[in-house]
Amino acid sequence: MLRFDSLHKRFGDVTALDGLSFDAGTGRILGFLGPNGAGKTTAMRCVFGLVKPDAGEVTWNDKPIDEPTMLRFGYMPEERGLYPKMKIGEQVTHFARLSGLDRTTAKESAERWLRDLDLGDRIGSKLEELSHGNQQRVQLATALVHDPVVAILDEPFAGLDPIGVDTMADVLRSLAARGTGIVFSSHQLDLVADVCQDVVIIDNGRAKLVGEVKELQRTSPTRYLQVEVDGQPWTSELRGVDTVSTNGRHRFVLDRNADLGPILDLAAHDGEVTRFAFEPPHLTDLFREAVQR
């Protein structure tokens, strides 16, 4: 288990991490969410010693991460970068070697990953000859070529087209199925909800919400009610009830124990009720609640 244990980090006057703590389990996919500047990248860099925390530490199975352990981790930085003029087959092999694989295994693994990511026929191409999306795939292959026990992926979905997004999601799911623990940051919350089991929402360097997505939704004290009358959104003013409007959806914010009977009666009074949905918060709602923006 990868544990972020009360990490603190300041850069001059800026507090990047302010006691961040959470765990990432093996074989699970964890979505690491937070507004820009919340400290996600800094926390991820702490895993690889790229940033040294002022206090706190990242541990693997309750031990500090030493070099041999770190070599079993995979990392895809937010700021993508590889050698532009190097052939991608050689490039991924090179990084596999740096991760400790022997020559033959490194080459085989590199070619297998590139084939799996539909780049089998480009193994001899230089990176700069590839499209942006394909370069991103090479970057992923680089991070995963040594079959890491933990993969730390900073914004892996950024800049991908829908097909790329699907490929990436499939790769993450199959990795997790094989036991790899995955931590990835993202701004695309719908996607995160779709892909990950666990979620950590951070703001100002602290974890605001930590847990399994389904559990967080289930235990949330808030419920959202969406009502349509005669096929149109029903926007009646209800005394003492807040409403939110997202993506054209008009929803009432209620307590999970709210009495729905009177509301249904009111709606039915205005016409035929064509939709009456009482649901737990979406991840977007949880995010907004957690960061209170």
């Binding site: 790229l50 940033v51 770190m70 981790f73 990392y75 930085p77 050698y83 990084f95």
Partner: protein
Amino acid sequence: MTRTQRIFQLAKRDFTQRLRSRAFLFSMLLIIVLALAVGPLISLAEGSNKASVIALVGNQPNGSEAAIQQQADALDVSIELKRFTDLNTAQTALSNGDVAVVVNGTSELIYDKTSSIQLSAVITNGIATAQRQIEADNMGLSTAQVSTLLAPVQFSERTLTPNNTSQDNARQAAAFVALMLLYISILMFGQFVMMGVMEEKQTRVVEVVLSRVKPTDVLIGKVLGIGLLGLIQIVALGGALLFTVSTAHIANFDLGGIGIKVFGMLIMWYLLGYAFYSFMYGSLGATISRQEDMQGVAMLPVLLILPGFFFGQIALVDPSTTLARVTSLIPVWAPMVMAVRSTAGDVPLWEVLLSIALVLITTVLLIKLGGRIYRGAILQSGKKTKLRTAWRSASD
């Protein structure tokens, strides 16, 4: 895979990727071809030192030609005598450069632009000797008497300070070539290291590398890989020069005795000098992420090494002056000055060893210092990182 193996893996990448670059291969080939051309060029220049043609016009005493030739041989001057029927043709040949001097009867020596004391002496002494021979015959002197009378005075020569031998000439020339090669190679491959570090920062690949290898090891790997490339170039270049010069049969130049020693010296001081400067270059490269900023940052090592080039030239003239001795012990300059001193002259072994030790010690310090700057600067964003910022952030 051990730490060392990972460093070698990094070195291998830098080495092979650069070796495959056409620009590098082409420039290396060009330099070697140029180096190979040096020998034949020197031979050609030597060959132009051919015999001076002396044109004879009009009447000279009998036996003049033999006497002039004798004088020339005595003075070790290479001449060729040619008789012309009239003065005009002789003068035309003179202006064309086919003839060095025209002897007009016994009254006049005609040169094209500048006169030669040596040729004048050979000609006047020769003709005077022939004249005396005739006079002596007229006086009825016997052959034995004539030869006694005309016997040239023979001096042997010596100098108080030992004269430059052909090997000294070779040593000085070799020291100069070594100085040039060292200066150019250290700067060139040092800058390659700087460029390599800067490019890895610019393309941001360095973060991927650093998630697997420690910063100082990344720097060491790069220095090794590019250093090996430099070693190959200097071996090829030095070898080509050695080959071409020793096969060219150049007069006053005996390379055989010192060639291998100079070669070994060159390689050793390249390795030491390169190691010293490349870590400096590497750490400076980490402070920038744009090609445009390179020139300014690259100035520092150049300013440090440049005086060494001049001290090296001073040491070339006299390797035993105090200035040469002191500067050959200062690590920033030692790789050039000591290389020159031990090639051009004989340096006590302890001085060489002390110089090597000092360079090695400071290089180790530079690895630590440079490693820290590298570590502190390589992941900083922004155009340029101040050295102080890099130093401080590495302590975090």
